[in-house]
């Protein structure tokens, strides 16, 4: 991992980092990834990734919801937390397409 990587992932994560912060972050992340590299020593050939822990002991399947409208308009309550709103819309700095 290098400084460019740190800047790239900061941008992907929409976090701003000054040059100094990026350098400090790099040092910390390098330590973490030094730890993470231990994983590469493990032979995982033929082992399926385990995404959901319970899958280890029982068959799991996504439960399905009946197609019914159960939620009703609560816009006013939801908009109370909005940093900026106008006529029921959330406002953001102009979106350029």
């Amino acid at each position: 991992m290098n400084l460019e990587d740190v800047k790239r992932i900061a941008h992907l994560s929409h976090l701003s980092l000054s040059e100094d912060e990026a350098k400090a972050t790099l040092a910390q992340l390098q330590k973490v990834f030094h730890l993470v590299e231990q994983m590469q020593a493990v032979n995982t050939d033929g082992i399926e990734p385990l995404a959901h822990p319970i899958e280890q002991i029982m068959a799991i399947a996504q439960p399905l919801r009946e197609d019914m409208v159960t939620e009703h308009d609560q816009r006013d309550a939801y908009l109370k937390n909005a940093p900026a709103e106008h006529d029921g819309l959330f406002l953001v700095p102009k979106v350029i397409e």
Binding site: I60, Q62, D67, M68, E71, D73, H86, L89, K94, V95
Partner: protein, 488 residues
């Protein structure tokens, strides 16, 4: 240099459900901003998604209709990127293992049949909308408004192989797909409301070259005309660019229908690492053989199946069947009509629908679903022909009258017959009197007939029909006239 155009399509069909794919909010079109965005759609802290069964059922039916493999297990993944109309900061979609795998769509272009191979179709949620009406933010800054009513609307994204070679083929494919999803009832097909949106991946290469050229993706084409124009423009742009020594850059482009050109979408440029991973909030989607069988059994008959059945059961012509199965609404109308008039009148019903009815619809540019007349009204018309009340010719007159007045009463046919006195004359006594009068007034024709001129018989029939204003029962007139001429 000669260029070959290569097009692959990605189509977002909005699924016809009542509620959203992962929440219980309504998906009805046209609500006030954010009134149909619930806590899940707004990605409020703590909310979780639960999958809508109907969305999956639609995907299964689509897969069956295109002869695809329905995955017994498919996985929902998160596609991560920031955009204000994407509340969670990720879109739930299917990535590595989609629910529908493979499949084919058949198209006909200028009488030539072609098959477009599908790569996959996967379930995903729609994003919200950004409105660019230059709102003012808290600091007076120029702002967009975010409406999340559409966020979480179920979509089936249908992806083809790069199989199409012209804008016309792409349009033929889009139309065939549109008609299929509407036929199946999985999508309402309303392109103005965005229920059926096409993205086209377009590239060009010198004829004979094996490798594909660099492609550009044109997004959100919501009419067949825009699709055609956008591809045509993009093809020209790419060819000119290359011929001028330039290079096509892989990017997302937007079509501007006013300027009739495509332009680069800057905003999507840097979002190119989506960091897909399986959504830990959702378990694998399992689809059993039983479920697939159930959907298959409840699925509406496909156009080709219907056409084959009608030909063998009712003796309809291939042409009639093609017209009647072009659209789901037409086929439904026909079947409804058939139910009321019975199998014996299948052919007569088909004739009426492919004749008078089709041209009336055509003239107004509407589909059978929007017809001012309903199947029961047409059924009555057919019944009145069958029971001898009216002739075919009179039937046409009645149809036109009904259509023009947009008759809504169930007994419009009988009402018009009555009002206009169009009832066929089948009373032998009355007919004989008229025939006698005609014979008396046309002695010349009678003599010619007796002299062996067959043509004279038809002239007499014509006179009789004229005298009855076309209301005489033609078969009966024929018989009575023959008898009379032979008697004397």
């Amino acid at each position: 240099m000669k260029w070959e155009v290569v097009i692959g399509m990605e189509t977002h069909a909005q699924l016809r459900t009542n509620s959203k794919i992962f929440s219980g909010a309504s998906i009805e079109f046209g609500a006030e901003p954010n009134r149909q965005a619930c806590a899940v759609d707004l990605a409020l802290p703590g909310v979780l998604p639960v999958l809508n069964k109907a969305a999956v059922a639609h995907a299964i039916r689509f897969g069956l209709a295109v002869g695809a493999h329905i995955a017994p297990m498919s996985i929902f993944a998160r596609k991560n990127y920031f955009y204000p109309d994407l509340p969670k900061g990720y879109q739930i979609s299917q990535f590595e293992i989609p629910v529908v795998q493979g499949g084919k769509v058949h198209i006909v272009l200028d009488g030539v049949a072609k098959t477009v191979q599908l790569t996959r179709a996967h379930l995903e949620e729609d994003a919200g909308k950004s409105l660019h009406e230059d709102f003012r933010g808290p600091h007076g800054e120029s702002s967009s408004g975010i409406d999340l009513n559409r966020a979480g609307t179920p979509l089936l994204e249908i992806v083809t192989e790069p199989d199409m070679r012209s804008a016309a083929e792409a349009v033929a494919y889009a139309k065939a797909l549109h008609s299929l999803v509407v036929w199946l009832g999985v999508c309402d097909g309303n392109m103005q409301e965005g229920s059926f949106r096409c993205d086209a991946n377009v590239s060009v290469r010198p004829v004979g070259q094996k490798e594909y050229g660099t492609r550009c993706e044109i997004k959100n084409l919501n009419s067949f005309r825009f699709l055609e124009e956008a591809i045509q423009y993009e093809v020209r742009r790419q060819i000119e660019l290359i011929e001028d020594g330039g290079r096509v850059v892989q990017e997302t482009r937007l079509y501007d229908p006013d300027k009739k050109e495509t332009r680069s979408m800057r905003s999507k440029e840097d979002a190119n690492d989506y960091r897909y991973f399986p959504d830990p909030d959702l378990l694998p989607l399992m689809i059993s053989e039983e479920w697939i069988a159930k959907e298959r059994s409840e699925m509406t008959e496909l156009p080709a199946q219907k056409s084959e059945r009608w030909q063998s059961e009712f003796g309809l012509s291939a042409y009639d069947c093609q017209v009647l199965t072009q659209e789901r609404a037409t086929a439904d109308f026909y079947e409804d009509l058939l139910k009321q008039v019975g199998k014996d009148q299948a052919k007569a019903a088909a004739n009426l629908m492919t004749g008078e009815f089709a041209s009336a619809l055509n003239k107004e540019g509407i589909s059978a679903a929007q017809s001012p007349l309903n199947p029961s009204q047409l059924a009555q018309l057919i019944q009145r022909i069958a029971d001898g009340t009216i002739s075919n010719k009179i039937a046409k007159e009645i149809f036109t009258a009904m259509w023009d007045e947009k008759a809504s009463d169930p007994d419009a046919v009988d009402r018009i017959i009555e009002a206009k006195g169009l009832k066929q004359i089948s009373d032998s006594g009355a007919l004989e009197a008229i025939i006698d009068q005609v014979l008396a007034a046309n002695q010349k024709s009678v003599e010619e007939f007796r002299a062996g001129k067959e043509k004279a018989f038809n002239a007499l029939i014509g006179q009789i029909m004229k005298a009855t204003q076309g209301k005489a029962n033609p078969q009966q007139v024929n018989k009575l006239l023959t008898d009379k001429l032979n008697q004397s």
